[in-house]
Symmetry: C2
Subunit: 256 residues, 2 copies
């Protein structure tokens, strides 16, 4: 049965999109069947995976609001075993349209239901907020992976995120849980990075992935070519890190 994982953190710019696209691509390299769902109106995952958010074709918006069946919203990518449900700028308006729907927080869950039997992984890229789109993602999955940037502000927002995940777990989705936290943009030259790593490992003992993603310019260049890091620069530190992470995620099942 397929795993459904939300990549969520309301702090902005921490590596959510970079993790969804490159973790997804590394799992596909291992032969897993992967779908990336881009639930962010910015459509960064759509671009980074090589698709054009402005091109015709059904998107997450059509699936959520217009109720187009999910199999008509899937796009293939250049990479085998990796496809995507792309985002669209109109998704920015979806939060307002969802608010008035019945069972508004489980629209995504219903739409994705048939996917779980066909794919090994459904990875959802979330926007940097705890609004209705992110709540929809937390209801639609059973696992959360949270990227944490190796910067000071990283620790501030964790409390609110954990509280929200627990709220969704208690009220709507009892099978929801954190699978793990992944440290990103680690820069060994700064004390700050090392301090954050130590602090996070103390705070969240046992739930922090061993793999740490280093700050690497290759990772920030890859999206401009519409390629995952494993294709753009296969031997770079970023590519190695995301392959290691994929192995860890694939092995770390049902940590609870």
């Amino acid at each position: 049965l397929g795993r459904r994982i939300a990549i969520a953190n309301q702090k902005g710019g921490v590596g959510k999109t970079t993790t969804v696209v490159n973790l997804g691509a590394a799992l596909a390299e291992m032969g897993r069947e992967v779908v990336v769902v881009d639930l962010d109106p910015q459509a960064n995952a759509t671009t980074a995976i090589g698709l054009d958010p402005r091109s015709p074709g059904n998107t997450v918006y059509d699936m959520l609001v217009q109720k187009v069946p999910v199999r008509e919203c899937l796009s293939i990518t250049e990479q085998e075993h990796l496809c995507c449900i792309p985002s669209h700028l109109d998704l920015a308006g979806a939060e307002v349209e969802l608010v008035s729907m019945l069972a508004r927080e489980s629209q995504l869950s219903t739409a994705l239901e048939s996917l779980t039997h066909l794919y090994d992984y459904v990875l959802i890229d979330c926007p940097p907020s705890l609004g209705l789109l992110t709540i929809n993602a937390l209801v639609a999955v059973t696992e959360v992976i949270t990227p944490i940037q190796c910067e000071y502000f990283a620790l501030e927002g964790l409390g609110a995120l954990i509280q929200n995940v627990n709220l969704v777990k208690q009220r709507v989705n009892p099978s929801l849980d954190f699978t793990g936290f992944v440290l990103t943009m680690f820069d060994p030259r700064t004390n700050l990075s090392t301090q954050v790593v130590n602090e996070v490992r103390n705070h969240l003992a046992g739930k922090v992935f061993n793999t740490i993603v280093p700050r690497s310019v290759r990772l920030s260049e890859a999206p401009s070519f519409g390629q995952p890091i494993g294709v753009y620069s296969p031997t770079s530190r970023g590519a190695i890190a995301y392959r290691d992470l994929a192995l860890e995620v694939d092995q770390r099942y049902d940590t609870t």
Copy 2:
């Protein structure tokens, strides 16, 4: 009469909070009377300026939702001429509470009205979204300053932001306009940074500040000490850049 400026960009992690706190502090150093309004539930500006978001006292939430007068929500900081209306985690729920209010998009504008006569600058830190909190900020001000990270995704979201600012200008606040775009986290060692600078200057000719804020670890360390960069590391490249930016902002008035 005081200037009201929103620091807005729905892309996450681009340096909005870093710009509000350090631009504000540099303007205060020049003797301007400055208020920083933290409209982000993450409360990063509140922490970075040296306050504790968990401490008692009125916050932006009390002002917006409980209608506490603005003068009772102002906190002083360690720095002369710089005060702050702090954020609070409860602000995350404010968007839902605001939705049902009459004239929901101008609640902040009404609350801040009396401030403009007392201060030279009111700087508003926005969350990474185009939701009701950011809309409230765009209605409450006449100027927008947008930090743009020197990364690939930076250009993707600009169209949506410009469209939204124009929408607010046409429908609710005709005096709203972009004062400028400031390039942040510039790293001269990467081609990507230089490419983005060139692309942004071509795209937005005339509206891009000359000052470019370099990527500097001092800037990311300062918030953990609750100090603006001008206090934490006065001779660092980050401190110099934000002083230069403050001069440019102070001189660049009514560019239209």
